[in-house]
Symmetry: C2
Subunit: 337 residues, 2 copies
């Protein structure tokens, strides 16, 4: 295998503000060979996530930063082409942290076998993958939505947000999504069954939330931070729960991060703002996957993927996330299935 | 009774920034007469609390604002001098929302009889009153400190903070207080048994917290907001709890309120920030009072009051709170016992 050429994006500089191509070295190396308990995966699709921006920063976080000179961290789904572990056979498909490259050697125990007959492969990076699990545990465990409550989610057409809204609907909540552009908003209300959608690029978010949440917001699932978090905080209902899942509006902030100016709404409304990291729920991934897959089979959980072709596009494709140019889960197709 | 002259501070303007004497009218009116179920109280001590600043603002909060032209709201303790209710007799002492005046007509059911032989009367406005209950329910119900955890409290020499720290000690926690000036800090460690105190006026708060909380902060009880909240958030331990009790540094802020810039620490550390209002615990005041009184009797809960004489000093005495000039519970003595 060592003669197969493996293209890789290595992080070589800590980005300042938006990621640039020059923060990476696009290079090649021989594909590795799997050691005991390992498999060699040919990457087919790579997951692009807002969290990747944080992984590039130095400093303490919920996961160690990507080291300079290392292959950029990423989740991927691919085909096993060599195996040194009885758990995965050549020809199997698996999801793993593959990194931004054509081929990855991974431990079989850290890879999850998936079935391409049950769902298109990229979905295992989205609604049936970490974003789906993030939505599932964040909304249900931290948010604890009750039937009849009003749930608001930002970045609602994104990989996490779309699942949050649909689970909230399944649980009998009134669901309002915030997304950028009329097309995304139509997708939320027309296809995903959201009760209302607010186009933050063209509408007054405060007016929209006031209109669509006449009794206040019981659960706010935040993926964006910044101004929209401020507005949501100012419209909380009594004993509201704010789930801090991400803050995509702030990840490229060169100045000091903007804190939520209306945080005293937590006091006035006896409300709670809580963060979580999906990795903590590893022992319950099975439960989450079963629920997500079940709803998908029943047609109650829909999803779409935004597929960009070509590993070489990685830095520019990643930027689409921060500009809100993707609709649905953003993935790079690295190779034909 | 109607011929007794009753001095009153009425709110006549919504303060901008710091409270000014001209925001009030200092006037007189005849003392009222108690109707059915009411008593007339001669006010002896008035409670001065940071929350009073919020009550002067227009806008939605956990309690309606004081209306313009109304007597300024305040808690007080006094002697019943006329009674129209069997629950309170002339000569009894009682705590009630009396307002900033010499005499108040209050409903007997809204007044709590207190015993001056068990504790000095002003203590019923502090450690054995609403500040004590605020500390008790906020720390124990929202913070849920566990033995061996590290608890940090700001405004630690204040009426709420001093009780928070002592209860945390009683519960077996390591306790670090933040207060202004060497004298207050010495009081915390020397008299109240805090493990450490940080003088925010003369020390580097981040360095002090890093030193005294080597395993991070498990519970942060916040009375101040602003920079100190930012620093505490940046030093949270995993699964930390941040109790939003107040934000005295921000109450007179003329610009938009400063939000906690490090709120994403909630995500990284799977932590929770939660607000509460002590009034919600009314059904459990008895439990709280019993615990606070018990610890006081055992000598495990100490307190001191900062007494300023003269109702006429009200606007200037209130400002002492925001300048940190009081040490212990700030009260105005309105009349001799």
């Amino acid at each position: 295998m060592s003669t197969v050429e493996n293209r890789q994006f290595k992080l070589i500089a800590r980005p300042k503000g938006m990621v640039k191509r020059t923060d990476f070295e696009f290079t090649t190396a021989p594909a590795g060979e799997p050691g005991p308990g390992e498999v060699l995966v040919k990457v087919l699709y790579l997951s692009l996530d807002p969290a990747m921006r944080g992984w590039m920063n130095q400093g303490k976080s919920y996961i160690a930063p990507v080291g300079l000179g290392e292959v950029m961290r990423a989740g991927g789904v691919g085909r096993v082409i060599a195996s040194n572990d009885p758990g995965l056979a050549v020809g199997d498909f698996a999801v793993a942290m593959t990194g931004v490259q054509d081929y990855a050697v991974v431990k079989a125990k850290d890879a999850v076998k998936v079935d391409p007959r049950l769902a298109p492969l990229p979905r295992y990076l989205g609604a049936l993958g970490m974003p789906g699990l993030t939505a599932y545990f964040g909304l249900l465990d931290i948010g604890q939505p009750q039937e009849g409550e009003t749930v608001v989610v930002s970045a609602a057409a994104g990989a996490v947000g779309a699942v949050v809204g649909q689970i909230a609907r399944i649980k009998g909540c009134r669901v309002v999504g915030i997304a950028g552009g009329p097309e995304k908003c139509l997708y939320l209300t027309g296809e995903l069954g959201f009760d209302a959608a607010i186009d933050y690029k063209n509408e007054d978010v405060r007016a929209g939330l006031s209109q669509h949440c006449p009794k206040g917001i019981d659960v706010y699932f935040d993926n964006v931070g910044g101004e929209i978090l401020d507005i949501a905080l100012s419209l909380l209902a009594r004993r509201a729960r704010v789930i801090v899942c991400g803050a995509i509006s702030q990840y490229n902030n060169l100045e000091s991060l903007q804190g939520p100016r209306f945080y005293l709404s937590l006091l006035v409304n006896r409300a709670r703002m809580e963060g979580f990291v999906v990795f903590d729920y590893q022992a319950r991934y099975g439960e989450g996957m079963q629920a997500l897959a079940g709803w998908t089979m029943q047609g109650r959980l829909k999803a779409r993927e935004h597929i960009v072709k070509g590993l070489e596009t990685f830095p520019e494709t990643l930027l689409m996330l921060f500009r809100g140019e993707n609709s649905g889960k953003l993935v790079i197709q690295v190779a034909e299935e």
